[in-house]
């Protein structure tokens, strides 16, 4: 065997090895995204992290964190944020599933329904918050209708508390949850349900044993995205909630430090705490997700 054929053999096995490990020229496709990540995400994050360890008053490098966790009012903002973000994401996912299940099949007026469901995305949180402010106020439509129907006798207090924030976040987060869930559900081969029904499963059993398990990994991602969105809630907490009380969330706490004392270092520390909280939840959800089946949902090679 000549040296030439040997080297050719070697280079072909190496190419094979590279290919098996996903290394080839298509890798270049991720370069633009990678650059954008570096400039707009990695650098600010690193900068913010470093900043958070250099307190404004030149105290020890953990001073910001000590202040935050030492102050009960500030510390409670973590709890406040979770108290809003967790139920909101859960409710959104739970509402999205039945609607998506229904909308997967052809329904009359599907376009119109889809449009109505999706409009809130294009409105933006501020506009929704303002609309709700008028709607939920003591003499707004909501309370007036309920009073006219004699369901309640005094206006319900829906503003400047937990409920206003919750409702506005559900309205702005639901379309995301719905669209994501719909795309996951459409990816499930309808033959799966047909097979289950032939095997004797009724609609509820089909959902429970076939659709839901195949959908679960998608729902986990939907939940995470909704959670992250809701976790950085700011406009609705400020407008509809009670930003110095139980709507004193992390985002409000961070802006407060900046607007009151220009303490960017402290604000960075709060942002970092926010990030750690979010990452913890996301990691947890993904850990649970990995216990489900996460492969193809089309079924069969046919």
């Amino acid at each position: 065997m000549s040296a030439k054929t040997q080297s050719r053999e070697f280079s072909s096995t190496r190419r094979f090895w590279l290919k098996e490990h996903g290394i080839d020229s298509t890798l270049l496709l991720i370069v633009p995204a990678l650059l954008a990540m570096l400039v707009f995400f990695v650098y600010p994050t690193v900068y913010g992290t470093i900043l958070s360890f250099h307190p404004a008053n030149k105290a020890g490098f953990l001073e910001n964190y000590k202040t935050f966790f030492g102050d009960p009012y500030m510390r409670k903002s973590i709890f406040n944020t979770f108290r809003i973000a967790l139920p909101v994401s859960l409710v959104n996912v739970c509402l999205a599933v039945p609607v998506a299940v229904k909308m997967r099949h052809r329904v009359k007026g599907q376009r119109a329904i889809n449009t109505i469901l999706i409009i809130p995305i294009s409105l933006g949180t501020v506009l929704i918050a303002e609309g709700l402010y008028a709607y939920l106020s003591p003499n707004g439509w909501f309370n007036r209708t309920l009073m006219a129907a004699h369901i309640i006798h005094a206006p319900l207090q829906m503003l400047h508390n937990f409920w206003g924030v919750m409702i506005s976040l559900i309205i702005s987060g639901f379309p995301f949850a719905f669209l994501l869930t719909l795309s996951y559900i459409s990816g499930i081969n309808p033959k799966m349900e047909e097979a289950a029904s032939i095997l004797g499963a009724g609609p509820i059993q089909r959902f429970r044993f076939v659709t839901l398990p195949l959908l679960a990994p998608g729902l986990a991602i939907t939940f995470c995205l909704n959670f992250v969105l809701a976790f950085s809630v700011f406009p609705s907490a400020n407008l509809l909630g009670n930003p110095s009380g139980d709507s004193h969330v992390l985002a409000v706490a961070a802006t407060d430090v900046i607007s009151q004392s220009y303490d960017y270092s402290m604000a960075s520390a709060i942002s970092l705490i926010t990030a750690v909280c979010e990452i913890t939840v996301v990691v947890l959800v993904f850990a649970i997700r990995s216990r489900f089946y996460t492969g193809s949902t089309t079924g069969g090679k046919g």
Partner: protein
């Protein structure tokens, strides 16, 4: 839904259209308990549509389905108690082979020990014990198909519907599985409706074959019937009568007559019903030819190609008027050789001229 026995499954005028286009037209068929029925036809002829209507996965546009006296065509699939093997398996990707097979039993709240026993038996039946704990994506196409079969028969349903269950297997495994399916059908006392486009498969398995074309049933009969006496030119074509000649008939009795074209003269004693004098379609199977004149029937040809096919030869021969004939013979012929072929008059099938086949028969 344990196996309740019934006498017959009756389809009455079952039809299905998809926005204007007719996928299945007026299917009427009475299937006795224990029978093995094959729905046979080319791709797109409505076989799967028919099966899905029987299963309840597709609602028929008109017609009705009875299980004995009980009308079942408005019942959802889960309440019909039929089993089904899907054309593309439709295995549950998130369940192991074992759990796929156990699915129906678990839905029926069968006792754990019983589930285990029956699933093991089903696994053994399709020889998949070593793969019991794999997921469908880790199996080959053929193995997936076997899981699908096991999943359907483990419930011992009263009727099993199979949509081309063997189409993805290699020739050897297909033959083996064909035998297994037939055996299963016998031992479990199943009633089976089997969809295929392979006439050999249909004939080897079925008690009765239903030949379809363009959504219309062309012929219902035993494999021998369909093979030896196709009802029309379309069925003949589909059943391997490769020689379809356009000729002219002059009847001498209701069943016999002389047929001629420019250079070929034959006599036939096998005229299909409603055949009239004039233009007709003549169908002759390649292996019905003899390499000598037979009872006055003779066609002079020159051999244009010879293909070795194992136990015999596939021969193409050109007649004096240029017509190509396909012949199977054990005799070794040479290209360019002049040969006179014959064919028995009863094996010369004569049909009214083939128009649109869905209007024939």
């Amino acid at each position: 839904m344990s196996k309740t026995s019934f006498n017959e499954l009756r389809l009455v005028g079952v039809s299905r259209t998809f926005d204007e286009s007719v996928a299945l037209s007026n299917l009427s068929l009475t299937i006795a308990n224990g029978e093995f029925i094959a729905l046979l036809g080319p791709s797109g002829c409505g076989k799967s549509t028919a099966l899905n209507c029987i299963a309840g996965l597709l609602s028929q546009t008109s017609g009705s389905i009875f299980l004995d006296g009980k009308r079942i065509d408005s019942l959802p699939p889960e309440r019909r108690g039929f089993g089904m093997v899907f054309q593309n398996y439709a295995l549950f990707p998130h369940l192991t082979v074992r759990n796929n097979i156990a699915f129906g039993l678990k839905i029926r709240r069968t006792k754990k020990a019983e589930v285990r026993k029956r699933v093991d038996a089903a696994l053994a039946l399709v020889r998949l014990q070593p793969h019991a704990d794999k997921f469908p994506a880790q199996l080959s196409g053929g193995q997936q198909q076997r899981v699908a079969i096991a999943r359907a028969v483990v419930l011992e349903p009263q009727v099993v519907l199979m949509d081309e269950p063997l189409s993805n297997l290699d020739a050897k495994l297909r033959n083996e599985m064909r035998g297994e399916i037939r055996k299963l059908h016998k031992t479990l006392g199943l009633t089976s409706i089997y969809v295929t486009h392979d006439q050999e498969e249909a004939m080897s398995l079925a008690d009765r074959v239903v030949v379809m074309h363009d959504g219309v049933v062309q012929q219902v009969g035993t494999p021998e019937d369909v093979y030896l006496q196709p009802a029309n030119a379309f069925v003949a074509d589909f059943m391997g009568y490769r020689n379809l000649l356009q000729m002219t008939l002059k009847k001498s009795s209701t069943k016999a007559g002389a047929i001629t074209s420019e250079k070929i003269k034959l006599s036939s004693s096998n005229l299909a019903a409603k055949t009239t004098n004039g233009a007709v379609t003549v169908a002759i199977r390649p292996d019905d030819f003899t390499v000598k004149a037979t009872r006055g029937n003779q066609i002079r040809t020159i051999i244009s190609s010879v293909e070795y096919q194992g136990k015999d030869f596939g021969v193409e021969a050109t007649c004096e008027d240029g017509t190509q004939l396909f012949i199977r013979t054990e005799e070794k012929l040479k290209i360019g050789q002049k040969v006179t072929f014959g064919v028995k008059p009863e094996r010369v099938l004569v049909f009214p001229q083939k128009k649109s086949p869905s209007h024939v028969g």
